[in-house]
């Protein structure tokens, strides 16, 4: 499903959480993009996303897509990071029954999916309860 080139291209974002900050208006884009949607600026500096954030929305996936079935049920949320950027990611190592909007979470490096039994291992970020 995910070939080497496609995976490798996103490594700065998946491993190091590199985002693009518009030098014109300071809006941060993750992943980085070429044109700022706020001020149409085209110059960006590389910044690292905040590690901590808050659950803005979440669900518990009971019917998982292929490649994720071993982990279901699992939570996925939209996390609003402390720098204001929002990302979609799994929320793991948590009590699914108690998970709530507003929960404080922190990022960890995890294996996100694998390309079948013999394909590449695809790493990235997930979030875990903070504190």
């Amino acid at each position: 499903m995910i070939g080497s080139a496609r995976y490798w291209r996103e490594i700065p974002q998946r491993y190091r959480y590199e985002a693009g900050k518009c030098t014109g208006c300071d809006k941060i884009f993750f992943p980085p993009r070429n044109v700022c949607s706020k001020c149409r600026g085209q110059e960006f500096e590389t910044v690292t996303l905040a590690k901590n954030g808050e659950v803005e929305a979440f669900t518990i996936i009971r019917v998982a897509p292929s490649g994720f079935q071993d982990e279901s049920p699992y939570a996925v949320g939209v996390i609003r990071l402390e720098d204001g950027v929002k990302v979609t990611a799994q929320i793991t190592d948590c009590d699914l029954e108690k998970l709530a909007i507003g929960d404080q979470v922190s990022r960890e490096f995890r294996l996100v999916q694998q390309d079948g039994e013999s394909g590449i291992l695809c790493y990235g970020y997930k979030f875990v309860p903070r504190g």
């Binding site: 490594i11 491993y15 190091r16 292929s66 071993d70 982990e71 799994q90 793991t92 190592d93 960890e108 490096f109 995890r110 294996l111 996100v112 079948g116 039994e117 291992l121 790493y123 997930k126 875990v128 309860p129």
Partner: protein
Amino acid sequence: MEVGIVGYGAYVPRHRIKVEEIAKVWGADAPSYKRGLMLQEKSVPTPDQDTITMSVEAGRHALVRAGIDPAKIGAIYIGSESHPYAVKPSGTVVAEALGGTPDIHCADFEFACKAGSEAMFVSLSLVRAGEMDFALAIGADTSQGAPGDALEYSASAGAAAFIFGHENIAAVCETTYSYTTDTPDFWRREYQFYPRHAGRYTGEPAYFKHVLSCARGLMEKANVTPDDFRWAVFHQPNGKFPMRAAKELGFSKEKVEQGWLVPTLGNTYSGSSPMGLTAILDKAEPGDKIFMVSYGSGAGSDGFIWRVTDRIREIQDKAPQTREQLENNPIYIDYGTYAKYRGKIRKLAES
């Protein structure tokens, strides 16, 4: 030139399984296992945790404590017997995630449970030789014990990372010594899922011979005795072996307990004595000396003598402490969940 640890960190997965839960499935007598092996529970990696992910987390903790620019790390060595890929390094992922690429030397090490200390040994040596200012060594494993085998009660998951340098040292490495022979006590052949071991042969001629010989050799080389040390840590395949080794060498229980994580952590293989060292560094005080001997089946032991410096106080609280991770908010799972997480259930092959 003095060389030593400038930053360290550990990572402990949050999931645990109790000895009783495993024993129940196999009709084994839990109390005797707990007593005999001195084990209560062990950490379990979730399907999204492996040697690479735990190494990244432990490495990040070490970087925070070291307070250095990751681009200055000259080498990264990951010791493990559970590298996620059979061919393709773990270290490249970790180096990339930590921001250490591309000016970095990288290799994965394997030597059963000794791969972590091996990485430490080589890292130290490169810094001492002046090849680089900083080197990162990690010991990590998500080891498998065959279902129903005695190893299933202990094989667990965890990682420890150390950044070595020659400035701002928190624990100086005073002496090292290694002891190696060919001893087939534990192995896993290519393409086999579970390792095999030689039962009671893993004790006297294997673990104890190498740990004790290495420890004695190290003390002789440094001209020290157990009385010179406040702390000691030995490889911990179960609770009993390191305690017995300590006793035979003359280290009191009090010196060993802080780094004796195995009763509630399990055997983290390449992470075992390195993680014990991190737990000791979390509590050590300037001037303390730490005695460390690893063990890897096959077989060999690496010995280290560490002298803690004033800087330890500055870095202890900069990242999560090891026992804090071990003790806070564990998530207990049943054997079914454990079997699913560890890939022990035969499933339909994906088309």
